[in-house]
């Protein structure tokens, strides 16, 4: 079977699986977040943390809860890492303070940027009690925020957006944990390791000695992908044969990282009582994903002459197509796991992965973050297009007025602000440039990629860039923190202002937000806004590299 055929088949199987799963999963999630009953285990949690699950929160309270939960998470994780040497199972792992800050922020913001080497920087204790816990709760936070925004659109003339603690707990117990369990078993069956044995020393073919770490990899791997986290057990991430041994596990991992983000449009459609709205968002996400996949695959396949194409930095057991598929999916969601080194991609292929993130992580984006980012772009689209039908723009009968457009525009502004400012500073700051592996356009791409990845909470890296210095660790941590929580607060404020509005009835004069024309425009706005913002930077990075 040729690469092309097997590549296309892989994609076809993936798309078929997603198509089959997103409807029941999406509907299930809608049920989860509208259910009036609580599970027994959930009630236990509510009693433990003293939360009244029946009470609802206004947007400010909801946002305060999100921030408080996350900031406490960062502090706890930071303390865990700093004091890991005196905690159990230390095994000699250690980290600088600035690296610890970076890591703590990174895992709480669902970024999983790893300035440290996975197996050497953190002890198994920190991995389990700290990082893994955040791998579960950080996507649940994103999910809760997305649901709050959907409620803002679905509900009419109220003030409450739901209860963050309830949404968090339900997201965990009813969605993320069960799916992660299933995912771990499937990966285990596929050959991913899961053990607690001590490191094994083996003699290599050349006669050298190599220490092989074991660990609870399959369980970690499942939540790493499912929660769009991306922090690998091993430094080599999903390129490591223990994490991702074969084409089947590779496909399963890509499926896992896409499945929740691609199911959330359905949840949205069901919750707002108009499934066509869900199809619109799904169409938007899928189009962008397909667009980027085509671009990256095309440039990788055509990157190098010779029978194997551009195999530098890719695993031979996967090949070009599955690597391009993984790269596109991991950057289109906020995962950041890698099964190949993006640094070694062709200029346009690597640029494509970079641009996927620059679109704002909405094709389909991270767990929850993808949906709310897409809805923000939908509001932007409605505002521009809505005027063209001669009415005050509205989405689902909610008017997009002064307050709504201000919040939307500011949300859109956050990520470019971080990326452009820090890349601009970094590219002329010796502190940063000294860490670059490459020179010329490729070096620029390295730095830009790092800050784009951080600001979008992606976590993947152009590996040539050594980011473990105090300056880069702290600026990247700042990007991750602001890139995560500024949009969350703005989105919740937006939800608060939408929920207060009465839903207007649909008439022939209303702009339908479910027509193919609208989907086309929706995609167009995302590409044009992202493209216009970053075109100059991309021209000097990947484009200059590709065209010279």
């Amino acid at each position: 079977m040729s690469d092309t055929v097997s590549g296309l088949l892989t994609i076809a199987v993936l798309v078929a699986a997603l198509a089959a799963v997103h409807v029941p999963l999406g509907s299930w999630m809608a049920k989860v977040f509208t259910d009036t009953r609580h599970w027994r285990v959930e009630r236990l949690v509510y009693r433990l943390v003293r939360v009244d699950p029946a009470s609802e929160q206004r947007w400010v309270t909801y946002a305060v809860a999100v921030l408080a939960f996350s900031v406490v998470g960062i502090v706890l994780l930071f303390l865990l890492i700093v004091f890991q040497s005196v905690l159990p199972l230390a095994r000699g792992a250690s980290m600088n303070v600035d690296t610890a800050v970076n890591t703590a922020v990174s895992f709480v913001t669902n970024t999983n940027w790893q300035s440290y080497a996975g197996e050497a920087g953190t002890s198994p204790f920190v991995q389990t009690v700290g990082l893994t816990v955040q791998n579960f709760v950080s996507p649940a936070v994103g999910l809760a925020v997305a649901i709050a925004l959907v409620r803002g659109l679905a509900r009419s003339s109220g003030t409450d957006l739901g209860n963050f603690w309830v949404d968090l707990v339900r997201g965990l117990f009813r969605v993320i944990v069960p799916l992660a369990l299933v995912g771990a078993v499937v990966l285990l069956l596929g050959g991913v390791i899961q053990n607690l044995t001590a490191p094994t020393t083996v003699t290599t073919l050349s006669g050298g000695h190599q220490v092989l770490q074991g660990g609870l990899v399959a369980s970690q791997e499942a939540i790493k992908e499912l929660g769009t986290n991306g922090g690998g057990y091993f430094n080599a991430n999903s390129a490591h044969p223990f994490e991702n041994p074969n084409a089947v596990t590779n496909l399963v991992e890509v499926f896992l990282l896409l499945v929740i983000p691609f199911s959330l449009p359905r949840t949205y459609g069901v919750m707002v009582g108009d499934r066509r709205q869900g199809w619109t968002v799904l169409g938007f996400m899928a189009s962008l994903w397909a667009l980027m996949l085509t671009a990256v695959t095309w440039s990788e396949v055509h990157a190098a002459a010779g029978p194997l194409g551009a195999l530098e930095g890719k695993e031979v057991r996967f090949g070009v197509w599955p690597s391009a598929l993984f790269a596109t999916s991991t950057t289109a969601t906020s995962t950041g796991a890698v099964n190949s080194m993006h640094e070694s991609f062709s200029a346009l292929g690597g640029g494509g992965a970079l641009f996927s993130m620059m679109l704002g992580e909405l094709s389909p984006g991270g767990v929850g973050t993808g949906l709310y980012s897409a809805l923000v772009v939908a509001i932007l689209t409605v505002f521009i297009a809505g005027l063209m039908v001669g009415r005050t723009p509205e989405l689902l009968g909610k008017q997009i007025g002064r307050r709504e457009i201000t919040l939307t525009a500011l949300t859109v502004l956050v990520m470019p602000l971080l990326v452009l400012v820090f890349t601009g500073i970094g590219i002329v700051a010796p502190l940063v440039t000294s860490q670059m592996l490459a020179t010329g356009p490729h070096g620029l791409t390295e730095v830009m990629y790092a800050y784009t990845s951080a600001a979008n909470n992606n976590g993947s890296a152009f590996a040539g860039f050594s980011a473990d210095t105090p300056y880069t660790n702290l600026t990247l941590a700042l990007c991750m923190f602001v890139g995560r929580f500024a949009p969350i607060v703005l989105v919740l404020a937006l939800a608060g202002s939408l929920v207060a509005q009465r839903r207007r009835p649909v008439t022939a004069g209303t702009l339908p937000t479910h027509s193919p024309t609208f989907v086309g425009l929706f995609v167009g706005v995302a590409v044009v806004v992202g493209g216009l913002t970053f075109f100059p930077a991309l021209a000097l990075g990947p484009l200059a590299e590709a065209l010279s």
Partner: protein
């Protein structure tokens, strides 16, 4: 409605200056051309011919230059960035002179100047109107009546609320107020442009008078209701001058979006310099400013305020005064239209539409009888019977009948007691026409009888929502006979059905408000094609309906003229008061229609939509333009460093410098090119939203992508010959 009121006439119908006659209005519009006149009426939309526009642009140049003041430019964040960029470029050009720097700085200043011109042209139109209005305001004195009844002469500007003034013929009414005594014909042409005088009288719905209008005959006593400086004309002047212009909600929202876009582009351009330095080719500030100005949405930023002013101005051209821009925008959002049946949907009086002969009798006889009995009936219903019958009679017969009065016939006037009118001929023959039951009583009391066939006809007409009138004759010495029935009904104005269909396509539901009974209302509603009706409506019902619609999230528009309409006008989102209406109605409404034409509401909705569409279309165009500008400027900036980037120069611009200059020139010229569009507004056709979106996207989205490629290329062909 009961037949008791069949032959009464409505007061408006007999008003000689009925402003609702469309003919009169149209004539007026054509009659006053460019003379500037003493009124707001100005030629229609065709006024924006290019030569005229060119002249306007030249004459507004001084104003546009004055508007270069940064304190003014500050109001548009986008243009302020251009202004700062122009200053930077000029400083650079002075410090390090070159053709390139000077060309760019001149065109950047031109960009700001063109934006100011657009605004000045839009404002200029209002200023001319304000001047003519001011001229009508120069009332000097007023005769104030003191509590003891004596009069004193005071300056009009000293009048306050509650003062009572006496106005005699040929005097100008000194301020807004209500007539408390007397009745007069008033020339209101100063504000309406309507030269036919109107009647103003104490009490009722025609008691309001406007300062600046002139009493022609008789005299009235007026109680002043506004403070000096706040009169209707003062407000009109402020409005058309744009002095009190506030940014509308949508305009503010759009400005915010444009500002954030500007910030994003500012960041993109600023971040570019360190990247350029890293890459080994720092860019000159002039080039960076050029890139920035091309990227930020200058086209819409420059035209935004002109679009808003022109939108208000378009309303004024339709003789509608909007008290706030908010209301104009709301008009575009209206989803329910409340229309009074009388005068808006129907002609306002029942008209004869059919003559039905009694069973066994010929049409000829009933036609003659109807004609004769209505000859002296001056009510609109009576006139319509004469018209209908006359059309069915041959001319000798008609002439013979017309001679009857001279031949000694006497006419019986309609009275509320008899509810009949008719004629008694010299030979003793008596014709009677009137409410069916009255005629039946007349016939039976004189020994005749009501044939059952006629009763059936009468019931049939009544149940269809019409009004039946019976016609009877009593020849000398014989018992009276019923000859037939006249079918009176409300006649729906022609074209209404089509207009309502258009409105439906626009997503607007029309509700007809009428005092008629549900049966009549239903039949007229069906005939007119309205979506719904409210029968036997009281002001409270109307209010309840508005609130109910608003509760469902719908914006409601309505017209009204009476004092009892005022609460509903205030409650509705777009309330249009008729200028003939009371001061209370005008105060409560957010628009006043000077023509007092209730169907104007439909135009107002279109204008509101057009305003929003124009903004959206130019925003889309402006953003779409950026794609081409990137392809022009980015390769130009870095082609020396990365020769491969020349592949992005897809339109083959001559040199890096010519590419940058061409993009900046295009960016400036496109503003001038779009001034007519922003003043006229994007053409709006009533259509479903998807069709509208698709069309506008094609024209302004796709057009916005393609146009600058062509434009910049053409400019480059010229610019490449300059010694840059």
């Amino acid at each position: 409605m009961t037949p008791s009121s069949t032959t009464t006439s409505s007061p408006t119908a007999s008003n000689p200056a009925d402003p609702m006659q469309p003919g009169a209005r149209r004539q007026k519009r054509h009659g006053r051309g460019n003379d500037g006149g003493d009124a707001l009426i100005r030629p229609g939309h065709t006024s924006t011919s290019y030569t005229q526009l060119a002249r306007q642009l030249v004459t507004t140049l001084p104003q546009a230059v004055a508007k270069l003041d940064p304190r003014h430019v500050w109001h548009s964040p986008v243009m302020f960035v251009v202004w700062v960029g122009s200053v930077v470029t000029t400083v650079q050009a002075v410090a390090d002179p070159s053709w390139f720097a000077w060309t760019l700085s001149i065109w950047l200043w031109a960009t700001v100047l063109f934006a100011n011109m657009a605004e000045a042209v839009a404002e200029g139109r209002g200023k001319a109107q304000a001047a003519t209005l001011r001229a009508s305001r120069r009332t000097t004195t007023a005769e104030r009546r003191l509590p003891d009844g004596s009069l004193e002469t005071v300056a009009a500007s000293d009048l306050t609320i509650g003062d009572v003034v006496v106005v005699r013929p040929n005097e100008v009414i000194p301020g807004d107020g209500d007539v408390i005594e007397g009745m007069a014909t008033v020339d209101e042409s100063a504000i309406t442009g309507e030269s036919a005088p109107v009647i103003r009288e104490s009490g009722g719905d025609r008691s309001a008078v406007t300062g600046g209008t002139t009493v022609l005959s008789d005299g009235i006593t007026v109680r002043i209701t506004t403070r000096p400086g706040e009169t209707f004309i003062d407000r009109m002047i402020a409005l058309v001058e744009g002095a009190s212009r506030q940014k509308t909600p949508n305009e503010i929202a759009l400005t915010i979006l444009l500002t954030v876009l500007t910030i994003i582009f500012l960041l993109a351009v600023m971040a570019m310099q360190p990247m350029a330095v890293y890459s080994g080719q720092a860019q000159s500030p002039v080039v960076l400013v050029a890139l920035l100005v091309c990227l930020i949405p200058t086209t819409i930023g420059a035209l935004l305020s002109a679009i808003g002013i022109a939108g208000m101005d378009r309303l004024v051209q339709h003789n509608v005064l909007a008290m706030s821009g908010r209301a104009v925008e709301a008009a575009g959002d209206v989803s329910t239209l409340l229309l009074d049946k009388t005068g808006t949907i129907t002609y306002g009086n029942r008209r004869a539409t059919q003559l039905l002969a009694a069973p066994g009798l010929g049409n000829e006889e009933v036609t003659r009888a109807a004609y004769v009995s209505s000859l002296a009936d001056e009510t609109p219903e009576g006139r319509s019977i004469v018209e209908l019958a006359a059309a069915a009679l041959d001319s000798p017969t008609r002439e013979a009948l017309d001679r009857l009065p001279r031949d000694g016939a006497t006419f019986v006037e309609f009275t509320a007691a008899t509810r009949m009118s008719g004629a008694d001929l010299p030979d003793g023959t008596a014709y009677r026409k009137g409410a069916a039951d009255s005629v039946a009583r007349w016939v039976t009391s004189h020994g005749g009888e009501m044939p059952s066939g006629v009763v059936t006809e009468v019931d049939g007409i009544a149940s269809s929502g019409g009004t039946p009138l019976a016609v009877a004759v009593q020849e000398p010495g014989r018992a009276p006979r019923v000859l037939g029935v006249i079918h009176l009904k409300d006649v729906v104005k022609p074209g209404m059905k089509e207009r309502f269909a258009q409105l439906r396509a626009m997503g607007i539901r029309t509700v007809m408000i009428t005092g008629d009974n549900p049966l009549t209302a239903k039949s007229i509603a069906a005939e007119a094609g309205v979506d719904d009706f409210l029968a036997e409506a009281t002001p409270e019902d109307k209010m309840a309906l508005i609130k109910q619609e608003q509760l469902g999230g719908r914006l409601v528009a309505m017209t009204g003229d009476g004092t009892n309409d005022a609460p509903a006008l205030a409650q509705s989102d777009v309330g249009v008061a008729m200028n003939t209406g009371t001061m209370a109605a005008k105060e409560a409404a957010n628009m006043v229609d000077l023509d007092s034409d209730p169907t104007k509401l439909i135009d107002i909705v279109s204008i509101g939509k057009q305003l929003l569409i124009t903004r959206g279309a130019l925003t889309t165009f402006s953003i779409a333009n950026d794609i081409a500008k990137y392809f022009a400027i980015i390769p130009a900036m870095f082609v020396i460093l990365f020769p491969g980037l020349d592949a992005l120069n897809i339109i083959g611009l001559a040199s890096p410098k010519s590419a940058i200059v061409s993009a900046v020139i295009f960016n400036a010229l496109i503003i001038i090119a779009l001034i007519p569009l922003s003043l006229k507004g994007v053409r709006y056709r009533a259509a479903g939203s998807t069709a509208l979106l698709r069309r506008n996207l094609l024209v302004y989205g796709l057009g916005g992508i393609v146009a600058p490629f062509i434009g910049i290329k053409l400019i480059d062909l010229v610019v490449s010959h300059l010694p840059l």
